[in-house]
C-alpha cells in the first residue's frame, strides 16, 4: 500500500511535466 502511494504520488509529480513536454512538441509540429 505504501509503495503504491509513493509510486502514485511520484507519477503525479513527474508525469504531467513529461506529458506537457510531449504535448508542446505536438503543438509545435502542428504549427509547422
Amino acid at each position: 500500500f505504501d509503495e503504491n502511494i509513493v509510486e502514485t504520488t511520484t507519477k503525479r509529480k513527474q508525469y504531467p511535466r513529461k506529458i506537457a513536454a510531449h504535448f508542446i512538441k505536438i503543438l509545435k509540429t502542428e504549427r509547422e
Binding site: 504520488t9 511520484t10 509529480k13
Partner: protein
C-alpha cells in the same frame, strides 16, 4: 479508512506514516536490544558472584517487567508524538496548494470547458488551413497571370513589330496608307476607264 496522506507524500517523497513507522520500529528495536545488553551485563557480573543465589531467570523476570513497563510508556508517548507530528509537522494544511500544482489554481477547466477550448483551437486550425489554401490558389493565379500577361505582352509586342515594320518601310499608318492606295487605285482605274472611253 486510512488517510494515505498522498498529497504530503507527493511533497516529501515518502508517506509520513511510513516514516514514523520506521522511526517506531527503530526505537522499539533499540529499546529491546539495549535492554538485552543491560541484562547481559548484569548476568556477566553475576558470573563473578557465584554465591549470590540470584538465578538468571530472576534477572530475566526483572528484564521483562522493566521492559513491559518501558514498552507501555513507549507506546503511549510514541502514539502522542506520532499524532502531533502527523497533524502539525508532516501534514500540508488543506488550504495549501503545492507550487508544482499552481496550474490547477490558474487553469481549473471543467471537461466541457476543456473540450470547448479544443474545439476553438481546431476551428482556428481549420481557418488557418483555409487561408493557406486560399493563399495557394492566389499564388497559383498570380503565376498564371504572370504567364498570361507575358503572352499578352508578347502579342502586343508582335503588333508593335508589325507597325514598326510598316514604319521602317515608310508606312507610318497602314490604314491611311491603304486608304490612300485604295483611293489612288480607284482613281487609276477610273482614269483608265476614262482613257479607254476617249480612245473608243
Amino acid at each position: 479508512s486510512i488517510n494515505p496522506m498522498s498529497y504530503e507524500t507527493q511533497f516529501f517523497g515518502f508517506t509520513p506514516q511510513t516514516c514514523l513507522l520506521r522511526v517506531y520500529n527503530a526505537f522499539q528495536d533499540y529499546l529491546f536490544d539495549i535492554m538485552l545488553i543491560a541484562e547481559q551485563v548484569i548476568l556477566r557480573k553475576l558470573e563473578g558472584l557465584p554465591d549470590s543465589n540470584i538465578s538468571s531467570s530472576q534477572i530475566r523476570e526483572g528484564t521483562e517487567s522493566f521492559l513491559i513497563f518501558m514498552k507501555e510508556r513507549f507506546e503511549q508517548l510514541f502514539g502522542k508524538m506520532e499524532s502531533i507530528l502527523l497533524n502539525f509537522v508532516l501534514s500540508i494544511p488543506e488550504n495549501v496548494l503545492l507550487p508544482a500544482d499552481k496550474v490547477h489554481e490558474q487553469y481549473s477547466y471543467s471537461k466541457e470547458e476543456f473540450q470547448q477550448l479544443e474545439r476553438e483551437v481546431k476551428q482556428l486550425q481549420m481557418n488557418c488551413s483555409a487561408e493557406a489554401a486560399a493563399r495557394q490558389e492566389l499564388l497559383v493565379e498570380l503565376d498564371e497571370q504572370k504567364a498570361t500577361e507575358a503572352e499578352l505582352q508578347k502579342t502586343l509586342r508582335w503588333f508593335d513589330s508589325l507597325e514598326n515594320a510598316g514604319k521602317e518601310n515608310g508606312i507610318a499608318d497602314f490604314t491611311e496608307s491603304l486608304a490612300f492606295l485604295t483611293r489612288s487605285a480607284s482613281e487609276v482605274s477610273s482614269k483608265l476607264k476614262e482613257i479607254e472611253e476617249k480612245s473608243k
